[in-house]
């Protein structure tokens, strides 16, 4: 038995429940190649189906929670994010109760602060972004005719991180310890203990940093999935529009979340260790936080909005009974919005006193982004006009979404003008605007998606009657709640106040808003009831119940765990409409990979532009290792919140250990043969390394995100340089301060040497000189550890004290970042050495060292930029 199956203990367990005999009947390993089978023979098909069903079966009993398949993980992910959404919704209702009357004392001021902070935080970080990842994890493989995403265990790891972090952040309010600073945190209000005592801000920072890990993991998974796991023939021009949106949004996550992680690091260092990044008395500047937060925060609005609009791009053609009008224009809108949304962040900072010309640039970009946003709305309208629209509950929510979003978009164009924003800033006008945008642009489309896709996931259609009731309650309730807020905002009601006095005209709009909020909530509860109500007696919906054209509707009812019966050849945008006999051919296994001959989970990897088959990828099965890795990593963040440093270090070691075990047992597996017949006379390799492998792309994408976080820290250095009169500051007359030049240069030389050893190790290993390669890997470990020590030694021997001023703190942050990455690089080389010694890495099976060499390219760049910034730049100015 191979390593892969040894590791899939849960799968074996599932097999045993069918009886040992059943296992033997499946005949794994003795099945003839797929091309030689007669797919018209029902017995052949029955055998194939039994094998596929067995291989992809979800684990039974308590081991169910070790599942990693996209259908299970996606379902947990979606359900969890909706649970957090309901929790945050209750918080929203509590706010509306408090504000329904003047001088109300339903909530205390402090508790109100916690409630609104968590409402915003949970809705954004625990619902809006994760629900995109959740839905994409379910839908994307189905839409691409793939059996699974390329890294199923990464999805599971992301889910567990999300669940643990989410419970930690939400749970804090039950101990009265929730953050009080708003979802934006406002340093120095929240960085200094005297203004914000307690753990609230730490819980916010560390809990969310942990969840951001999950988001970036999902982004890596979805980018590689979209680019490399499409079915044969699905060229870029034939991709479902949803996949285009997923690609753009995952790319945006990669550039938007890392600046916030960098900001979180600075923020937490200030809270925990008193490093003065945002303290003006010691050279710091709260504006840096504003920049880093909003560089994340504004793209995030589009990260939330685009995937929901992507659902509309799938729903509208189905009910208009025709292909989308203007496919290229949707691509324009998605990609264009993705770029322009990074030029808007300062429009959240119009009131901070920046020069008008700076505001002007961002105001201009904020107006420009209306162009691609409107283009997609017009594409939808054109598709509806050109088709014969079938009225249905999903379409009802689609039309509600468009109406509400357009209103939000128009107020958006208003507040993008700085002079208008100065009037409306921090008032309920902005609250109204952002709720129109987010609910119209995200919640209504998501509910449309729930009604549209539920037959695929739950096997039955949701009730039309309840759906209509829910829609009208939600639509009327929403407008009743939020339209008056424009008015109360313009009267002058500020955001984030826990109460207001009588007799200034605010009673009536607030009362109306509160009533509307409860009507809206009643509508949403109707949706929840419709989804959860028992419907044992009801018949299953027929397959492809809406008569749609895209691949996800191949799903059987009730669902089969294998994803698709065979991986189809696609030659059109709507194969179920445009390719004759398509569903029958898929079901008869007439396409690729109709079998699981060796009892392994497999999916197909294809090329980026034209989706030509390049590899039959073995994907790993159920495991608890991802769960443990998330538990220990979560413990690191949670224990750090409460300053339990020893335990933090211990759990950090466990977390690294769990991740190493996961990698050791579940990645870069050597297949038992070089290639495999996947049917229709096509033979594909089972192993690929370098740019041909999905792992190499995952490393590249992860390191791009990592580099973005690093560049954000570098930006911090130059930000302080720009805003400070003298930087580095003169500490004492006539004395230079800084990390010196000697030790940083020594570190740079050592990093360069370890970079070279990593490259040479890769090259000598592939040439077959395994002994030399092992020696080089060993040297690389020592060199990179020495380099990491040297980069820290510089600021240490020159006596830079990070609590004194922001300059030493910034130098230390960059040195520590580089040293940590150097230590990680050493660990990776040591891992490769161990793999080589254990015979798990050979000259032909060299994924590990190739990916580590790729890491070292980024590492070398990091070291170069760090040393140039902290040691050489001060010499030049």
């Amino acid at each position: 038995m191979s390593d892969a199956t040894l590791d899939q203990s849960a799968t074996r367990w599932a097999g045993k429940s069918d009886g040992e005999k059943a296992q033997a009947d499946l005949n794994f390993g003795n099945v003839p190649p797929a091309s030689e089978r007669d797919q018209d023979d029902p017995e052949v098909r029955a055998g194939q189906e039994a094998r596929l069903r067995h291989v992809w079966a979800e684990p039974k009993g308590w081991r169910y929670w070790s599942a990693v398949n996209n259908t299970e993980v996606g379902l947990w992910y979606t359900a969890t994010s909706f649970a957090f959404m309901l929790f945050a919704g209750v918080l929203g209702l509590m706010m509306r109760v408090q504000l329904s009357a003047p001088d109300n004392d339903f909530l205390t001021a402090s508790f109100y602060n916690q409630v609104y902070t968590l409402h915003g935080t949970v809705m954004m970080f625990l619902f809006a972004v994760p629900v995109f990842e959740a839905v994409a994890i379910i839908l994307l493989p189905q839409m691409l005719g793939a059996r699974d995403l390329p890294f199923p265990r990464l999805s599971a790891f992301g889910y567990w991180c999300f669940l643990i972090g989410g419970i930690f952040v939400c749970g804090s309010i039950f101990f009265g310890a929730a953050p009080e600073g708003g979802w934006f945190m406002y340093p120095p209000l929240t960085t200094q203990e005297r203004f914000s005592p307690g753990y609230g801000a730490d819980i916010w920072l560390l809990g969310l940093s942990f969840i951001e890990v999950a988001s970036i993991a999902a982004a890596v998974e979805l980018i590689v999935g979209t680019l490399k796991c499409r079915p044969p023939g699905m060229r870029l021009n034939l991709m479902p529009l949803y996949a285009w949106y997923v690609l753009v949004v995952a790319g945006m996550i990669l550039f938007a979340f890392p600046p916030l992680i960098a900001g979180d690091i600075l923020f937490e260092l200030e809270r925990l260790f008193n490093w003065p990044f945002f303290d003006p008395e010691r050279g710091g500047d709260p504006m840096l936080w504003q920049h880093l937060f909003w560089i994340f925060g504004h793209p995030e609005v589009y990260i939330v909005f685009l995937p929901a609009i992507a659902l509309l791009a799938m729903i509208i053609p189905t009910f208009a009974r025709r292909p989308i009008v203007g496919y290229s224009f949707i691509v324009l809108a998605a990609v264009g919005t993705g770029f322009l949304s990074f030029g808007l962040w300062v429009h959240h900072m119009f009131a901070t006193g920046l020069p008008a010309i700076s505001l002007g640039f961002f105001s201009a970009a904020s107006e420009a982004v209306a162009i691609p946003t409107a283009v997609q709305i017009f594409v939808f309208l054109a598709t509806l006009l050109a088709g014969r629209v079938i009225y249905s509950v999903p379409m009802l929510f689609v039309s509600g979404a468009l109406a509400i979003f357009v209103i939000g978009g128009l107020t958006g164009v208003m507040v993008a003008l700085a002079p208008f924003d100065w009037q409306a800033h921090d008032t309920y006008f902005v609250v109204a605007h952002l709720h129109y945008v987010l609910l119209g642009g995200m919640l209504f489309p998501v509910v449309a998606g729930v009604y549209y896709y539920w037959p695929m996931m739950g096997g039955r259609r949701l009730s039309d009657k309840l759906g209509k009731i829910a829609f009208w309650l939600m639509f009327v309730g929403f407008n009743t709640a939020f339209l008056p807020m424009h008015w109360s905002g313009l009267i002058g009601m500020p955001r984030r106040v826990w109460t207001y006095p009588a007799d200034i005209g605010l009673e009536l709009p607030n009362l109306i808003s509160s009533i509307g909020a409860f009507v809206f909530a009643a509508g949403f509860v109707t949706v929840v009831w419709d989804v959860l109500r028992p419907r044992k007696g009801e018949p299953y919906a027929e397959r492809n119940t809406w008569n749609a054209g895209t691949l996800e509707w191949l799903a059987e009812v009730p669902d089969e765990a294998w994803g698709v019966r065979s991986v189809p050849i696609v030659s059109s945008r709507y194969p179920l409409w445009q390719q004759k006999n398509f569903m029958a051919d898929v079901d008869m296994g007439r396409y690729y990979m109709p079998d699981a001959e060796e009892g392994m989970r497999e999916t197909m990897v294809t090329s980026v532009l034209d989706a030509e088959p390049v590899q039959c990828l073995r994907v790993p099965g159920p495991t608890f290792m991802t769960f443990w890795a998330a538990i220990f990593l979560g413990a690191v963040f949670i224990l750090a919140t409460f300053h339990l440093w020893t335990l933090t270090l211990i759990t950090a070691v466990f977390a690294v250990g769990a991740i190493l075990v996961w990698l050791w047992r579940g990645t870069a597996m050597q297949p038992e043969k070089a290639e495999k017949d996947v049917g229709l006379g096509l033979k594909l390799p089972l192993y690929a390394s370098g740019p041909k492998s999905v792992g190499w792309w995952a490393m590249f994408i992860t390191m791009t995100g990592d580099a973005t976080a690093f560049i954000s820290l570098i930006f911090g250095y130059f930000f302080y340089f720009t805003v400070s009169p003298v930087f580095p500051p003169p500490m004492m007359a006539g004395e230079e301060i800084g990390p010196g030049v000697l030790w940083p240069l020594v570190a740079l030389a050592l990093f360069a040497a370890s970079w070279l050893t990593a490259i040479l190790a890769r090259n000598t290993n592939s040439k077959g000189a395994v002994g030399t390669a092992r020696l080089l890997m060993g040297c690389g470990v020592l060199l990179s550890l020495a380099a990491s020590a040297a980069i820290l030694w510089g600021p240490y021997v020159t006596g830079l004290i990070p609590t004194v001023h922001v300059y030493p703190a910034t130098v230390w942050v960059l040195a520590i970042w580089t040293a940590c990455h150097g230590a990680a690089g050493a660990l990776m080389l040591a891992y490769c050495l161990a793999r080589s010694l254990a015979g798990r890495m050979t000259p032909t099976h060299d994924i590990d060292i190739v990916n580590v060499a790729l890491y070292w390219h980024f590492m070398a760049g990091t070291a170069l930029v760090t040393v140039a910034t902290i040691a050489l730049f001060p010499l030049a100015v």
């Binding site: 034939l238 008008a356 700076s358």
Partner: protein, 125 residues
């Protein structure tokens, strides 16, 4: 990237024009923010930076215009019709060219938008 008048389009050529917009935007904002920092003398003029932004805008518009004309020309020579829903390498190429044209058009407009504040404002107020 362009070899003769025949480029093999891919995802990188698709995002060239919006990337030019991004670089232009960052340099415009970064230069003026640097020029006005620490923003104490708000009546300080920024003529030099405005000239810089103007020159930068001309370069960016020329580059985007080149991308636009290149993609449009190739799209036309390759048949120049929509929709691009056939199953062939040629149609996929044409699809990428057409999408590049659209994105270049959007980026062109967005660069002009970005430059407008520098055309109108004279100091650091």
């Amino acid at each position: 990237m362009a070899i003769g008048n025949k480029t093999r389009d891919n995802l990188w050529t698709l995002i060239t024009a919006p990337t030019i917009w991004g670089v232009h935007f960052l340099l415009c904002y970064g230069s003026v923010a640097y020029g006005c920092a620490p923003n104490e003398n708000i009546f300080q003029t920024i003529s030099g930076f405005r000239i810089f932004v103007g020159g930068l805008t001309a370069v960016a518009l020329a580059a985007i215009g080149f991308v636009f004309m290149r993609a449009l020309g190739e799209w036309r020579r390759n048949g120049g019709r929509i929709p691009h829903e056939e199953d062939s390498i040629e149609v996929r190429e044409r699809f990428l060219e057409f999408s590049t044209v659209l994105l270049a058009g959007l980026s062109f407009i967005a660069v002009i938008y970005t430059a407008l504040p520098a055309a109108m404002m004279v100091d650091c107020r």
